[in-house]
Assembly symmetry: C2
Homo-oligomer: 636 residues x 2
């Protein structure tokens, strides 16, 4: 029924969109060098990283001991991935040279059999003994992703060869047996390596990990050594204590009996809901969607569709945030979406974007693009400050200074982004998503080109080159100019966002009627050079009401305009914000905030019977004006 | 300005009220024997107690080892107090004999210098070394309270003499220096011993503990041994693990740096808000009010008034519940009163009732009686099932099965009362409050008799015998018959509840006008034998709206009638309850539930635009019909 899709490769897409290209430049010019300095421990006041030093020690280039989370290596891998992609945005021979130097160190740190992990470099006997907690496969997955990215951008094989040796070592060790990773991610890496090399053993290894998962729900109980304890973090008692106090399972950092936590409680095809650690869940699903496509596995595809729907309909915050509780960084039961104690980890939103992008290549359905857009512009993007150097791990929907970050049960909800994080998974994760967001924009199939987002860009596909210009995200309207390669019919499939209720389409200036199939406007014809398809639409402010089963949002509305969900910040409104009301009939108007460079939404509101003027800003832009109150949902 | 009040002693008050005397009989006939069997480990399926066995071991009457919380002794003490009071409700020579036998064991367990604690019986070198965690003074306080109660009821000195030796041991050890208890309670015990014996050293020791507290905010950091760890619970790893996982401070059960937790962050007179562990706070305030009265200490009285107001205006749930978070069983910042993750420990409400009762004797103000009534009929009473054998430690205001007790962050919110609790502070605490509630009903001064609650009872005071009959709590109306001792003027002061807006008073059948002073109707005259003062009033159902600063209750109403706050249970209403609405103009009507033997409130409601019939029951009566949903606040 559905044409087989493939993403248009990143090198064939150029992002010209003002909003996103500015962000990409910021990542290339500010975040990549900033993160490099953090990883080299050169930023005063940032949490100690030691991640690059760990590789130098393992390579024999430096003395000393491993320091950091047991998965500290993944910070380096995600930075390499980000830095590699950034070379597409801003060529930088010096950075490329430093990457080669770092890769040489990594290659030296690799063992002769392909094994690579700096924590275990001095503990070879402990390799693979504690898959529950030790994240070796997780780190390997990220290193493989980095290698594929580096190869894709630079054409060099230096890191790719490291990754192939590492992947072969893993295939050798894990091809048979019932072992599974404690934190899903290797499956994504293996799938990407399969797509980069065409070697089916990587795809099949990924599938074996996925197929095995949950066949034995007691797997981690049976295969984790008693009270291993020592592994999760090394080198700083105070950070260790912090982790212990958040996850204390009598010597374990992770409870080996909690099979929900890492989705090993049932075979993946039997799973019907999002459960446990949100990032693990979303990484698993990303790999599953990719594997389902690569292997033509229908039952895996159905599982992905079922779980995607479950998440979007019952488990997702209006911002795209995923995971309602800090305990286990996990999903809560359906419709339990507390705003002030939300977890909504940046990484979970980033992973949801990856999952949606894979789903789009399984089934071109506008709902996947809607969710992808939601994450990109809101739940994920809020993880980074406007200047690109401060990061949120947790993305709450309500923050009250004096409570958030301080009161018992609210410690994780910080009212300000941080310079760096002891557990630094989120910053490079978000950066790699944004800098490579060109991957998310276009797909192609035999007879069609799909445009998933109104993000100004140029795409080179087999059928045609297409240019998209758009007023988005601040204004309406989008225009496509097509440069076909041959005179044959094909369809330009333009996703109409779920929030867009009214638009007019015209071809070369003449209004047209065209069908909308599964959320995509289908304009099929023999395209001629320079044909222009234009969409006219306005961005109307809109109100969102939660499912009535979400107790936390009962009687409330959230505001949105275009791709952005809005929030109310103390900087623009009378506090406490919880006393404010947005009457159901209050007219919403767009305004400006030149300091934040955003469009605001304004409305007449009420506070204790008195009229007040309410101002909302896009959610991603909150917490850029010092500590103050914030909330997304306002009582009507 | 205010006449000096004293409570009318328990022996001079007989509760005749149908609602409460049934509860008192239930405690005497069911709860006291049930708890005794629990404490003797004779109830199958209840959590192991071992509390009486610990005394037998310490007395040399049995072998074996101490088992339980480090404060397990207090369970025995609170049971003795309850059992002693129950003898007033239902004389029971066999129980009295068993009490004497138990007291003989306790006396044998007491050391020659008066020290008494079964955990430290075999660890004499560790006595008083860890006041932060080891609760020796806390247990002593409860034993002294038990002794005073036992003496008051039976006239016997066997336990009183133990208590005096114990108190003298404490005075000897703590008179000088800066030591303070890690959990307030000894101050209450010492005050009661002072009132029973007239020995001022007990009052002064209590006051020293109170005056000292917080003078050195680093006291516990400086005086707690490094990583003591071993003390908090002995004998069962799984319970130990449970406690560790809820309070992990790297070897400590209680964080020695958290001076908020036990209110040692500032001198008590400098404290302006409720902070930290709620029960500790309320026990401290109870003792402070008592000491302020006994010592005529104006600054202490002002502190009590200030903190009482702070709690009632900013920290109390509509049910009287105190303490918004399970983390540290603590108060959250002002107006943070989450309903579904509430802690609202039964003990905190019981202690608030004690505090209010002490406040009434400091200043006869109807607001204190309002809060006392709120706790008695709601926040405290909900801790026990209708049949008196199941107990809540935590009293949430919203429960969703499948979330409560299960989901991360909601583990403490159980949807069913338990047979017993590993930490068993609450059941006997509530029982002793109810069985001795006669203490809360009346006070007297030079020229006045105060009736604090419309609870049918007879009181013998210096001025007169007074009989009160009332339709409360289910119906309106109250009548006092006075039998004066002499022909001299005095005032009968009848508290008019804050919720009672309209009433008519008559004397011997003739309507009268009388002033209401600080919440008390003042009828002053030369009373003649048989004079009858009657109040006519109806119990109108009413809506309560929370302070607008309470985000969790925005747009919602709670229902109440007379002294009861109501809740909606799944057993009576369509679920999920969160979808229900109670329109602002919905008429409230009283109904009946014969199974629960309560008056219900009924109203036309709405669910997704459709009409539904809503039924509310008194909050205390929820969770008596199996696991189902419950919520107090309903959206209007």
């Amino acid at each position: 029924m559905c044409a087989k899709l493939r993403e248009v490769p990143l090198r064939q897409v150029t992002v010209t969109d003002e909003f996103w290209s500015a962000r990409q430049r910021q990542i290339a010019e500010i975040a990549v060098p900033y993160m490099e300095r953090v990883l080299r421990d050169e930023v005063p006041g940032a949490a100690k990283s030691h991640a690059i030093e760990n590789f130098r020690i393992a390579a024999g280039e430096a003395g000393g001991e491993f320091y950091g989370m047991v998965f500290q290596d993944s910070d380096v891998a995600k930075w390499i991935e980000t830095a590699s992609y950034s070379l597409l945005v801003k060529p930088d021979p010096a950075l490329e040279a430093r990457l080669d130097e770092l890769i040489a160190t990594i290659a030296k740190a690799q063992q002769s059999d392909g094994y690579l992990n700096t924590y275990f470099a001095k503990r070879p006997e402990a390799r693979w003994t504690n898959l529950l907690e030790c994240h070796e496969l997780y780190c390997a997955g990220h290193m493989i992703e980095a290698a594929v990215a580096h190869h894709e951008v630079t054409g060099k094989r230096n890191l790719l060869d490291v990754a192939i040796r590492l992947a072969d070592c893993i295939v050798e060790r894990f091809w048979e047996g019932e072992d599974i990773p404690g934190h899903q991610e290797i499956e994504i890496g293996l799938m990407r390596l399969y797509r980069a090399t065409g070697e089916t053993r990587y795809r099949d290894m990924a599938k074996r990990f996925l197929d095995r998962r949950g066949q034995n729900p007691r797997y981690f109980r049976e295969h984790t050594p008693a009270h291993p304890g020592e592994h999760f973090f090394s080198g700083a008692d105070e950070v260790m204590d912090e982790f212990r106090s958040s996850d204390p399972y009598g010597g374990y950092d992770i409870d080996p009996d909690d099979a929900d936590y890492n989705q090993s409680y049932a075979p993946v095809r039997k799973q019907t809901e999002a459960r446990g650690h949100a990032v693990r869940m979303m990484y698993m699903l990303t790999a599953m969607a990719d594997a389902a496509e690569a292997a033509g596995d229908e039952s895996l595809r159905e599982t992905c569709e079922r779980l995607w729907e479950h998440i979007v309909e019952r488990q997702m915050y209006v911002t795209g945030g995923l995971g309602g509780t800090a305990k286990g960084e996990a999903f809560l039961p359906d419709f339990e979406l507390p705003n002030d104690t939300a977890y909504a980890e940046t990484c979970a939103s980033v992973a949801m974007a990856f999952f949606c992008q894979r789903m789009l290549n399984l089934t071109p359905d506008g709902r996947y693009a809607d969710a992808l857009e939601l994450e990109l512009y809101n739940g994920a993007l809020s993880g980074m400050s406007l200047d690109g150097t401060r990061y949120f791990y947790v993305n709450p929907l309500e923050v009250v200074p004096g409570v958030a970050g301080v009161a018992p049960g609210y410690e994780h909800v910080l009212p300000e982004r941080q310079k760096w994080l002891a557990c630094a998974c989120c910053p490079p994760n978000l950066a790699r998503l944004i800098v490579a967001m060109g991957r998310c924009l276009w797909s192609e199939s035999e007879g069609a080109i799909y445009s998933h987002l109104f993000v100004g860009s140029r795409a080179r596909t087999a059928l045609a080159d297409v240019e998209l210009t758009s007023g988005m995200p601040w204004n309406g309207g989008a225009a496509y100019v097509v440069h076909p390669r041959a005179s044959a019919p094909f369809a330009l499939m333009v996703r109409i966002p779920g929030w867009l209720k009214k638009f007019r389409a015209s071809l070369n200036g003449v209004e047209i009627e065209a069908p909308v199939e599964r959320g995509y406007l289908k304009v099929e014809r023999i395209w001629r050079e320079g044909d222009a398809l234009a969409l006219e639409f306005d961005l109307e402010p809109r109100r969102i009401h939660a499912d009535p089963r979400v107790a936390a949002d009962a009687g409330c509305a959230a505001l949105a305009r275009g791709p952005f969900v809005y929030c109310f910040e103390g900087a623009d409104n009378p506090v406490p914000l919880r006393e404010l009301r947005l009457p159901p009939d209050a007219e919403l108007k767009a305004g400006e905030n030149s300091e934040l460079r955003v469009r605001t939404l304004r409305a007449p509101g009420e506070r204790g019977g008195e009229s007040v003027e309410l101002t909302a800003i896009p959610y991603y832009a909150w917490a850029n004006r010092g500590v103050n109150e914030m909330r997304v949902w306002l009582r009507e």
